[in-house]
Amino acid sequence: MADIAIATPSRYPGKSRALWMIASRRWPAIAAVLGLVVIWEIITAGFHVPSYMAPSPVEVLAAFRDNGQTLWTNVWPTVFEALLGFFFGNLVAIVVAVWFVHSPTAERAFYPVAVFMHTVPIIALAPILVLLFGNGFTPKIIIAALICFFPTLVNMVRGLRAVSPAALDLMRVLSAKKSEIFWKLRLPSSLPFLFAALKIAATTCVIGAIVAEWIGSSFGLGALIIEATYNFRSSLLYATVLVAALLAVLLFSIVSLAEARLIRWKSPVVG
């Protein structure tokens, strides 16, 4: 990044300056990552660590080149499951949160159920869902959705309630209807809370999809992880894990970007 910025200062003055600023602000992080990779290379080379135990960075890079097609075909099922899980898990969480906020009875009845579901380890739930729904996409999407559900539910309930009494008084003096209070007051003021949860969900939905693929699946990054492990193809394993991490980072960045565009106010509270 820094090289590009230095190499083309005259041709793209604005863009290169932006890149340069990012580089100058981020150089400690970039240097740290590069340093760790170099240390990793030195350790694996210097101590003659066998490749199946821990591949060197160069070998991992080579795995990307040799298994590019395999990685590419297996990343899409995981993307699909993670995205659908993200969508449905959060959608249901938002709807349930709205229901809870409008019906204390519903909250008293189902909040404990939600907490209980959250305490069941997702990895224990995966086999049950595979038995129920087979080997297709359905159990994976459900697991990815389940893992998104709880944090969003909790945050959304908090967000919808994070309305000051004064703001409610204002709406009452204006004779606002319940639906108007919801759309014009509760929902916008819950957005910062919602996005805090969505950022968590952006990374956990990938985890959910991969964990689900560990159990009885023949496709996806999760299946590739299992296959690479059992066949001692360690460099492929590392490459797959990197792809999974990059996927999570990408989803996180997209959500963060959406947040920055949608929420331009700082304070989450009406004041």
């Binding site: 000051s164 004064a166 703001a167 008084d169 204002l170 709406m171 009452r172 003096v173 204006l174 004779s175 606002a176 209807k177 108007e180 014009k184 007051l185 916008p188 003021s189 957005l191 929420i263 331009r264 106010w265 700082k266 304070s267 509270v269 009406v270 004041g271």
Partner: protein
């Protein structure tokens, strides 16, 4: 009689803007209820500017909230242009200005001013939001988010928002209480200007004696435990008033009298 004639009769003063008779307000149900207001009687004429003053817990905010239909009356009668507070609220007879500006942080200044026109079925008549922001001295800041405005500016937006439905009554609950004194003085002067330009009836709650005297045609002094009317003090100072009126002997005499009253409360 058609609607217009009804309006004209009202405005001709068939009813005072606000009349309160033997009002009791009780918080909490049953025997444990706390009496916030007991036997309050007060009349506020159309176009008047009355300030309410009293020690903490005297129920001055409660009285204002009862007028605004935010607190129910346990006994007695409140009439706003001859209607109950609920009907008056639905008819947009009054607007309320809170101690905090209570602006929606995701809306720009002008969109905050528009809010009353978007909810509760809109308003029968309304003012131009841009003109109102101009009236409160915020021309050019229409697009600013609340967080980009100072405390004083936010409260100006809140006043513009209150005026957008062209209310006949403005109920103000310590609107300048959280502001520094210089900003407060400036807004006091501007409120008087707005009052004279719009002819709106204003009821203004404050815990500042000079503010109560500077603004009010009359000062309603309340006493605590239970909240009740102590005295309804006329302020015989001519309008338009400037800040320096506070250095006159009359002003000082009235504030001294009020201070005396509050000490006895």
């Amino acid at each position: 009689m058609n609607q217009l004639a009804v309006e004209l009769t009202r405005q001709a003063g068939a009813h005072p803007a606000i009349s309160v008779e033997n009002l009791d307000v009780v918080f909490g149900a049953g025997g444990k209820g706390v009496t916030a207001l007991a036997g309050v009687n007060v009349t506020i004429p159309t176009g008047g500017l009355v300030t309410m003053l009293g020690p903490s817990g005297c129920g001055k905010s409660t009285l204002l909230r009862a007028l605004a239909d935010l607190v129910p009356a346990a006994a007695g009668e409140i009439s706003i242009f001859g209607r109950s507070p609920r009907l008056a609220r639905e008819a947009r007879d009054f607007a309320f200005v809170f101690q905090d500006a209570t602006l929606l942080p995701w809306r720009s200044a002008i969109d905050n001013v528009r809010l009353p026109l978007e909810v509760g079925g809109g308003a029968p008549k309304h003012a131009d939001p841009a003109e109102l922001l101009d009236l409160v001295g915020l021309k050019g800041r229409e697009k600013a988010l609340p967080e980009e405005l100072s405390g004083g500016m936010r409260q100006r937006v809140a006043i513009a928002r209150a005026l957008v439905t062209r209310p006949r009554i403005l109920l103000m609950d310590e609107p300048f209480g959280a502001l520094d004194e210089i900003t407060r003085d400036k807004l006091n002067e501007e409120l008087l200007r707005i009052w004279q330009e719009t002819g709106t009836t204003i009821v203004f709650v404050t815990h500042s004696i000079p503010e109560a005297v500077f603004l009010g045609q009359k000062v309603l002094v309340l006493a605590a435990n239970p909240g009740r009317v102590r005295e309804y003090v006329p302020v015989e100072l001519p309008f338009p008033r400037r800040l320096k009126v506070r250095d006159t002997l009359e002003f000082v005499q009235i504030t001294a009298h009020l201070r005396q009253l509050l000490e006895e409360c």
